[in-house]
Each structure stands twice: as C-alpha cells, then as structure tokens.
Amino acid sequence: MAMAQTETVVVAQSADAPTQKELELAEERVFRLATSLIAPSIVRIETVGGLDEVDGILAVNGSTTGVIVGSDGWIVTSAFNFISKPTSILITLPDGRKFPAKLTATDTLRMLALLKIDASELPTPIIAPPESVEVGAWALALGRSLSPDQPSVSIGVISAKERVWGKAIQTDAKVSPVNYGGPLIDLEGRMTGLLVPLSPQSQTVSAGFEWYDSGIGFAIPAADVMQALPRMQAGENLRPGLMGISFAGNDLSGDAPVVERVRFQSPASAAGILVNDVIVAADNIPIARLGNLKHVLGRKYAGDQLQLKILRKNEPQEVTIPLVAEIPPWDEATAGFLLKRNSLSTNAESEPEKLIVRAVFPNSPAMSGGLLAGDEILAIDGESVPTADSLRKLLDRRKPGDQPRFTLRRQNQNNQPEEVQVSITLTGQPLPVPGELPAIANDKPLSEGENVPKAKGRFLEKLAVNGREYWGYAPASATGKQPHGLIVWLHPSGNSMEAAVLKSLKVECDRRQIMLVGPKAEGKGWTPEDVDFVKALVEHLRSEYPIDPGRIVVMGQTDSTKLASFLVFKDPAIYRGAILVGGPTAGQPPERDPAARLHLNLTIPEGSRTADGLKKLVESLKKQKSAISTIFVSGDGSEFPDGAWAEQIGIWIDQIDRF
C-alpha cells in the first residue's frame, strides 16, 4: 500500500492528472479485465438428485460455481453446494464442454469440496500471495450460477483477515449461493480466496447462509486452499482437529485457558495434560485468553500437530499434541459387582484396605466369570490392587470386551484361604441395575444395652452461612462411620412435598444407609443462586455426617428435574448422579469419562404427557454410553411415587459405586 500511496501523490502532482470520471472509468475497465483474466478457470456446477431440505433450509438445486485448481481436472468449490447429497455432479467448462465429476474429498473445517473431472490442460488461476491481501483493497466476488457465458461480479473490499477463528477473509462484496464456490479476486485477477458460507458461531455446513448478500461474506484464503489440496487429492476428508480439553470459564475474551477437564482417551490426555494446567502459548503464539487459543486451534485439521506451552504449578512445560477428528465417547467397562465399603476414617491411609466383594449382580459378566460374594480381590492381570481406587483406575484402562484376569483370595471347602484366578469379560454401559440387592450389614449390629447413639431422624435446620432453611432425614446409622449415600431433594416449584418424599424413601434410607435432605426454595421457585446454596449445603452435611462422596445424588420432580440435572452436569466432581422423576434433563450431559462418572435415573410416569419425550431422551442417552436406568411407574406423574419405586431407587443408589 505504501507504494500505491506514493504513486497517488505523483499522480496528484502531475499536470495532466486524470479527472475523477476518468479514474472511475479506468476502474471499471480494471474490474472487467481482472474478471476476464480468471474467467477461464471458473466453472459451472450442476447437480442432479438429492435431498430437498437440509438443516431446515431448502437445499440449493440450481447451478453453482467452482474454480479449477489443477490443470488435470481438479476443481475446488464450497461444500455448501453439495449439502443435498446429489447423486450426480456435472461440470460445464467455460468453453462449453461438459464432464461428470466425482466428489473426491470434503473439508468440514473450511467447508470446501474437491471435485475431479477427466480432463487435462485446463487453465488455473494465479494465486494471490497471502501478504498481498490487504484490508480495504478492492475485492471481486465471482460466480457462474447466473449465466454460463460470463461470470457474475460483485464488487467490494477486503473487510478483514483471519476471521472465523483464523480461517477466512471477510469481504463486503455480495456473497450468496450465486457465487459460493467461486473465487474472490484482486484487481490483478489473482485468486485471493474461495467463497463459502461460514459462521463464527456454528460449524454446520449451512452455517452463515443466513448472511447471504448482507455485506458480510467470507472466503477461505487461496493459499490455505492450495495447502489443503494434496491431502484432499489423495481422497482424505479433512476435519477440524480436536485435542480433548475443556476449559474453566467460557468468556472467550475474558477467561484464561485453564484446563478444567481432559477427555479420557484424548490426544491431550495421551500428551499428559493435567487439570489446572494453564496454556500460555500455542504454535509459538502467546495465549492469554480462551479466544486466542481458539484462533490458533480453529485453523487446524485433524492430523495436524499443535504445540502447546503450558504452566503447571508455575513450571513451564512443552507438549506436542497430534489432533484428532473425534474422541470416542468413553464406554465405562463394567463387571457387575460391589465391594464392601470401608468405614470413613480420618487416617484411612494408615490402615490397609481389604477389597471384599459384597455382591455379584445376577447375569453380569462378574457372575459368568465366576466371581463370588466374599472373594477378596488381590490383583488384576498380575498388578496388585491395594485400594478400591487403584482397582477402579486399572479397570478404567480396559475396554468393554477385554478379559482381565482377577486374582482372588477365597475360602476353600475346608475354610482355608486359597488363591483363585478368574477371567471376566467386561461389558459396556448401561449395565442393568439388579432387581434385588442385599442391604448393607452394619459393621456391628447395634443392640440394646450397648452405647447406642441417639438416632437423629427427621430434622429442620438453617444453614449457618446464609440462613437458608432445609429439612432432612438421617438414619440411625448416620451417627457411625459407615459411609452413607445422600439424596438432595429439589422440590418442584411451589410445593416442598416434604411429607410425601419422606414417606416414600424413609424405609430405604434406613435399610441402605442413605441420608435425605430437602433445601427449600425462597419464594416461588428455584433461582440460579440456589446452585451455590445446594453446594454449600452438601459441604456442610459432609462435615457433619459420614457421607460417601461417590454416592451423592440430586433428585427432582417435573419442573425441578432440569435444575437437578443441571447441578450434576455442572459439578460432576461433587454429584455422582441424578434422579429425575417425570421430567427431562437440562440439555445434554457432559461427555462421560473417569472424572465425570455420572449415573442417571429417569422415572417415566406411563400416563404423563411427557412419557414419549422421556423415552426418546433415554434412547439418545444410551447412544452416548451414559449410565442410565429407567423406572416406569403408573399414573400421570402428579403424585410422588413410592412403594416398589422407592425400593428400586434404594438399590440404584446402593450400586452406583459398582465395578
């Protein structure tokens, strides 16, 4: 541009400076000249067959545009032009010859498609070097949709570069299906980009279509198109690269990239990224905010590598992450047995744990493999398992279908302990919840005459920190050291249902060592602030009672199921599951992984209007390998269920720490 300005000054000083009119006419000539230079490389694409409607919009079935990028018949265009999945693609060259085309590959990151026709010696455009593309410079958007004889022209300027997470050039020339797949060119007739619909918010193939002709148009830089070409020519479909990290916070321009979760079996996990790592640079570009990182990652394909500089406890580290196209959902491998729970004790580490099998689920892999209640688990595939935690970590490394060998200590017929080996073929989720499960025997039966602690039973209290009210029920066993489950009951709006819930679940609370607590909403219904109230309440109860962190669940009914599931989805480190009675989840659960081992229990009242919707929800959750159980009850869902329902809920809570 500096050079151009110098020229302008010279022009202005010259005696025979052109008039404005002359300049404008000269400009028009240049527009036409530039267009005619690239026109032989712009082809018309027609499609036959395919869907009528995609993503709720009518599929384009008129002619579209492509650009020849390889003289031996390679044509690149916008993936948008094929969203209807046509059965036949036809190319008409500017000289009138027609060819059938094959869709060789698509690029779902940059929304490109590569076509091949059986032709040779085709004219290819000159590619504008990336450094020549300047904001404010003239940009012409060309297409072949309207007329086969001459490309259509829309004129504007380059509005911005590095748009849509580093992927695109933005222009105010009119971009629409009339020229999607066509080139954006400069005044020298060089191709600066390939016109595509794009949206910073969405990744679907039609995203950005709603902006057509609005003055907000996008083009993939021609240099990037050419760079992607060899892989696409080899038939590789290019996809956005994933590393498998989610971050604390979601303010792209505010929050620093602090690792909140690392997806199990993801490249980030393989590269050793840990929770609380802070990313400070990516591909040598300094990163301060989430948005900076998205900008670097947004340009990368699966198969590319990402170099990260991270701070771990203020120590700098460097890792290289090979990006992947998809991270498979974690399907927790399960055997179907429970261990005896050890008492909660402040100095648990000093006492060696014994891993005694408490129950083996009927018809489970554990039962088929020959595991028996009372067995002590010593090792898995020869690796010793000193604690329940280490057993879980070892099993988490197995996939459904694997056959780990369990080394057990078992009493033989002569009541002598002996070592036994069994092989168990692990299965995936969801594992059916057993219909029956023996209740937990107390360490020591409490009998009269002993120092029986006074059972607390039902209580009504206020939380010290905020004065908020809650009711609760603690079984007599909750005064001991046996770990207890906890149900946090979030009542539907306007009705605490205290009596009904307690009546339904009291027997199970006693039998299966479960505490019940019912925070009360202030005013009519729950508010977002109540998320913190519930969290504080759970913390308080954990300090007062022997509560097992692995069995804290939230329960809601009808209009409170969304809040209940929301809490659990948001804080999988605190809550292990949700009981949803006659209502849906709040959106999708987070990807299940060893750090978010969520269990969902959906109660479907057969006579309710929501029953069909809930059944569909269950099906979709099963597909994601969620640990989901369903209980069907009669009625329309207005009554709180009890009886057999409560028994099943009791068993369900009692088995969510199963292996």
Binding site: T8, Q20, E24, R29, V60
Partner: protein
Amino acid sequence: MSICFLLCGSQLLPAADDEMIAEVQPKLVKIFGAGGLRNLYSYNTGFLISSEGHIATIWNHVLDQNAVTVILHDGRRYEGKVLGAEPGLDLAIVKIDETQLEHFEIGDPSSGSPFPLAAPGTRIVAFSNMFKVATGDEPVSVIQGVIAARTKLPTRRGAYESSFPGEVYVIDAITNNPGAGGGIVTTVDGRLLGMIGKEVKNADLNTWVNYAIPISHLQQAMTEIMTGNFRSSKNTDDDKKPAGQVPLFHSTDFGIVMLPNVVPRTPAYVDRILPGSAAEVAGLKPNDLILFVGDELIQSCGEFLDQIGRLESGGKVKLIVRRENVLITTELPIPRKSRPPAKPLR
C-alpha cells in the same frame, strides 16, 4: 499494472457525484396506492418519461385502484391515473396533470435504441423509494453497486415469480426492497439503464434476486402506451405453453421406459429401451442417467417427462446421458405427430 497503482489511491472516491444525483432526483416520483391489507406495502417508485407527466413504474398490486397519489421530489402532490400497463413486461404508465417536468428521454424506438446494454462489472447507482424512507419533499434513496450479470431469470418451474421473460440486469446492490419496484438503475454518469423489478426469490438458489429490466426492452411499450397506440398484451413468453396443454410426446414415443417416478427428485434413470426404437438405434441403454434434453438440465424423472412433452413435432432432440462415469451425447429424431386441439379452459 500502472492502472492498478493509480486506482489504489482513488478507492475512497464516491462512485457518483452530487451533480449527477441532483440531475436525476427530480425525475423520480413516489407513488402511493392500494395495499396495506394482508401486510402488502402500498407504495412504489416511478420515473418521469415526459414533460407532461407520464410516469413509468412497476405493474403490481399498488396500482390496483387505478388512481394513485404521486409525490414529486419537491413535495408537489398529484392524483395519478393508470394510463396503461403491459403485465408481460411488469410495466405500467401513470399520468399526472402537469407540464414542464424534468424527465428521461425515452426516444423513438424505431430510430435505434439510445440505451446500449451495460456489461457486468459496470458501476451503477440505484434510485428508489425503498421502505418509503423518503417522505414529502425528500428525494428518494440512492444506493450504489455494479451490474453482477446479464441473464434471463429462469421461469422454468416457476423459480422466479417475475413474468418478464427477457434478459435482465442482476445487480449486486440490494434493490429487492418493498417500494423499490419502478425505481431506476443508472450509470455513474446518470444514464438510464433499467427499471428496478419486483421482489422475487430465486427458488433454485433460495435467495432474493436484485434485478432491473433494461430500458431498451421497455422502450416500445412505453412509447405505445403514451401515444395511445398500445395494443393489448402480447404473448411475450414464447417458452411457456398455455395452461392445460396436453403433452404431445411421451418418453415411450422414443422407445424410452423410465424408472417409476416415486419421489419428487427421482433421478431420470432409463429402465428399459424398447426394441427397434429410435432410442435403441441411438445407442441408449438401461441405467443411463438422462442429464440434458437440449440444453435443459434434467434434475428428475418428472422434469424429463415434462421436457419430452414439450417437444415440437419433427426435427431432432439432443439427449446427454451419463453412463458409468462418461457423458454420452445422442440425437433422436422426433416423430411427426399432430397436436390434439386444446380444450378451452372454463
């Protein structure tokens, strides 16, 4: 490339200057008429084509009541009467009682067109009463752009609702707005190029089309209506067959049996070729996908049968089919067949 260097500095210069706009604005009028019901807008744009108050505008629902209100650029207000209309060209002429008005010269069409066609890439300025932003003595709105293409709006399958069958200017300025119809597109030096068309959507591409009808197409009808020599609407749409026409040919007349047409977009695959037929002689085979009849792209079985039905007796028809991954061009003779008399429509 020296021209490029000259231009880079001139980017911010306006495309059209004040003088030109000041010259054109008095020739435009705002028209208010019927509408308002069913959420239809009730205003158009028009442009003066004689000093005695002849105004060209778009033929649409706004003119339904025959009498309209016309407001000049300076706020003068008149009752206008619809003098005549040519629905085939989307054109109407409204007359107000006034003299010595500034206007565009339409000229005598028989003495050659003073309106040469502009090429794609030509800069344009569009003048219109879009969204009736201009009220009273305010001039109409001006926007700028370029001619994007010169093309026929494909009327096949009713993709466009426009009735205008000729070549139009598609422009890259957004003129497809309520009230813009009947406005004008000029060159940057104020020469009249076209009349802004109706609000229509291109169903093939699912997008709105911004277009203007070249004045050279309207010239004759304008003159005829003004001079009172206008004859009733000609059938300008040669492509269209009268409604209710029975198709003259079926694919079996050529020996082609198609796969059953089950869904709207069933591709046009050949099922069987009748022995001894023209199709067999031409070398067509089962499983050929028919892609073109003449120059018309065939996207479905239904379209193929439709195109075959429209063929005229005698002569030849070109078919392009895809077999495996090769395009094959064939020519079939069209049998002689006389058309049954069309049933009168009731």
